[in-house]
Symmetry: C2
């Protein structure tokens, strides 16, 4: 049945678009990959490890995040936090998101 499959596909696509924004918005305070993963899932956004870690690296490569290894703790963790550039972009992203939500509100009304 293509039924559930199509639904899942669309849900994946919907979530996909949102992950970057979600991650960036949560990194106003320092976090490492695994803790961010847990936090996102606590808030209701299930993300795969294989999705989040590459995303974090990508965002760092784009200059929206910075990261540091911390070795003092229980075990080595790579902490990420939003960069100055990320801080500039984030509100713009939020605005774009709000725009899309309002467009969809009209459509689904």
């Amino acid at each position: 049945m293509a039924n559930t499959e199509s639904l899942e596909n669309v849900v994946l696509e919907l979530r996909r678009g949102v992950i970057t924004l979600a991650a960036l918005s949560q990194l106003g305070t320092e976090q490492y990959g695994y803790s961010l993963l847990k936090q996102l899932s606590d808030l209701g956004l299930e993300v795969d490890q294989g999705t989040l870690y590459p995303l974090l690296r990508r965002l760092e490569a784009q200059g929206l995040l910075v990261s540091v290894w911390k070795l003092e703790e229980a075990r080595p963790r790579r902490y990420y936090i939003i960069s100055a550039e990320g801080k500039k972009i984030l509100p713009k992203m939020k605005k774009e998101w709000a725009g899309i939500v309002s467009v969809m509100d009209k459509m689904l009304a």
Copy 2:
């Protein structure tokens, strides 16, 4: 500058996830590709031809849409309309969308 580039990327991704839902939601009434394109853009969702036409074909292949050629009009047009299966799935998609929106509300608060 990676700045504007990153922003555009994210915006593209955000919009990307939403296009399927948008298209499907508008095809409660019969439309052909070009008219749907115009309608989406009127409502504020700019979609490329090279994105929409393949999407319509894909949705038809998945059984969520049905299409017919109409030759009587000014020029041949392929009309799409939501299928019975599409009608079953659409409300579920809307629900998923609402869920994502509410999750993002929490995150961006």
